[in-house]
């Protein structure tokens, strides 16, 4: 499982990171409830976006499960995370998730500050 996670990261992370940055811009300057409306209303574009989005979630869930199984604990200690085979990959993916799951109000205020809202 670890090997699959390590290899798939190179495909999933860049796409997900790019998507989260685009979505952050959308939340800052556009409608936070109808993100990327042109792309998502077209099934040919919506499907790849959904696949990237879901795969990133599956990746982070897989990384958690692998770490939790290794530590045999629901809440693995930080030491287990840092000693895992791919700590930087996990860290970068978590950073992308932090951007994606940051409160909408933060992006709205950022948009207002920049003046695109």
């Amino acid at each position: 499982m670890i090997e699959t996670l390590k290899r798939s990261w190179w495909v999933i992370f860049p796409a997900f990171a790019a998507l989260t940055v685009r979505l952050a811009a959308e939340r800052s300057c556009g409608d936070p409830y109808d993100l990327l409306p042109v792309a998502t209303s077209n099934p040919a574009l919506a499907w790849p976006l959904a696949i990237v989005y879901v795969l990133a979630h599956a990746w982070i869930a897989g990384a958690y499960l692998a770490t939790a199984e290794r530590s045999r604990s629901l809440v693995p200690p930080i030491a287990v995370w840092t000693s895992s085979a791919n700590p930087f990959q996990i860290l970068l993916m978590l950073a992308a998730f932090a951007v994606e799951y940051a409160p909408a109000a933060l992006w709205a205020s950022l948009g207002a500050m920049v003046g695109c809202r």
């Binding site: 979505l23 409608d31 936070p32 409830y33 109808d34 993100l35 990327l36 409306p37 998502t40 209303s41 077209n42 099934p43 919506a46 499907w47 976006l49 959904a50 696949i51 989005y53 879901v54 979630h57 599956a58 869930a61 939790a68 045999r72 604990s73 629901l74 809440v75 994606e100 799951y101």
Partner: protein, 537 residues
Amino acid sequence: MLDVLDAFRIRFGARPLLLSLAVLGLLYLVSRSGLARPSQERWTAIAKWAIGIAGVAGLVAYAVSAVWYASDPHFFDNAEPTMISVGWLFHAGQPIYHAVDAPERYALIYGPLAYIVHGIALSMFGPNIGVSKALGAAAGLASVALTYAAVRRHETPARGAIAAGIYALILLLFRHYSFWTRPEPFQLCAAAASLVFAVRSRGIAGAIAAGAASGVLWNLKFTGPLYSIPIFVLLHRRAGWRATIAAVVTGVVAAALPFIVFSNVSLADYVAWVRLSARTGLLLSTLRQNLEWTAFLLLPILISHFGSIADERQRDSRDRAVLISLVVGAVGVVVAGAKPGAGPYHLMPFLPAIAYLVSCNTSRISPASRMDAAVSRGAIAFVVVAVAVATVQQTQLTATMMRKRPVQEIADIEAFASTHRGTIAMGYGSTEAASLARPILTFRSNTYLIDQPAVREHQLAGIEVPQSTADAVASCRVDYWLVPKGEAPFSGVNGYAAVLLRPLYPETFRRAFLSTHLRVSETTYYDVWQCQRAGGK
């Protein structure tokens, strides 16, 4: 107090995973603080009490909520009356799916059994909204009983009842979706029945019964097969390939049967509407919500897995295959349920299988065992959030229905209908609340020209109200339209983001209506618009 609960529901009701993590963090801080430092035994005891109380509360609250909702002829949701009206049309021999360019505007993408079951019940017990509402409640309650039967394979009666109670509690997180008059109660019932046959019955007959129940599930919505994946993996684990293939074949036959048996159920038209609906794309905000809910609903499996991890001897390596199949099915529904208007409630039919998998894990935990403190805290966090969200959702349901209870629009419609001849139909104004009693008119006339929730869905899929509908209206196919009082006829706008505020009815339709209809009187709740036939009536 109600305002506070409503504010909590709006802010956090849709984010149970994040709430659970927040509560978990809080419990961790408590355990680290000098104020209270419960021992591992104490955490285990607190978790067991919390689960027990929540389970009992879930059973009681679910039964009360479902029966109470069924006892009131008012609807909460705009599309609930559609199911009943079209169900009655089926009974009257009318098509469930009209052609895309037909004058009628009521086809939705639910499978035919979603309507047929209502049609049969209404024909057996009489055309009455209460019959359909009781049917939804009965199906929801039956799913709880069937889930209990499934978890009893591994658990004692008391622990099985608590597991079924937690299942019922989780259903309450989805407000009344598990006992309303739309397809979800039937889905839950079919999924739980299929699970019971898969894990409890023996021989080929059990496999066929599991397949038949799954076939119902597949027919109700086109995403149905995804819910059956973990059930069939469980069946395969227990009964082998032959039984699984028999179940799949039976399921396909059961799912196809309504299209073959009934001449008024057109597969071609159903497929046409599903394909049109697939054009609508998806919403990323809903996709994220679905993913969060999936993780939240799978938490009990994770928590119970780590709670039972000490006893590796009894662990079956094939558990992993069942779990993977569940996740694969859930991911499919997560994406399919990200369509505009869909959402996390599409995950509900996985709950019986989730409850069963949790019971597989918890049955390995002996009553005297001490759980890891993190597991206990996780269980407490899950239960606390489930109780909190279920409470605010049920409060909203209760408050809304209490406001509707005194409204006597059904008696108003019946009084008008009993004194007027000709076809009477429900018209729509700028709002929809007063139009929800429309099945009463369909019961009388056996016709149903316009269903506004369907019009809204069609517009989202790029299909406007056709000229044939305007022609039918102008040619007095309906003699009287009851339009919510004081509202301009057919002045509603679409609420979906992609077509936000677009008029639901084209100008040509509205002109055709206004040029051929006259507001002739009013009732307590409606303006009466009469069609003026050429040459006078």
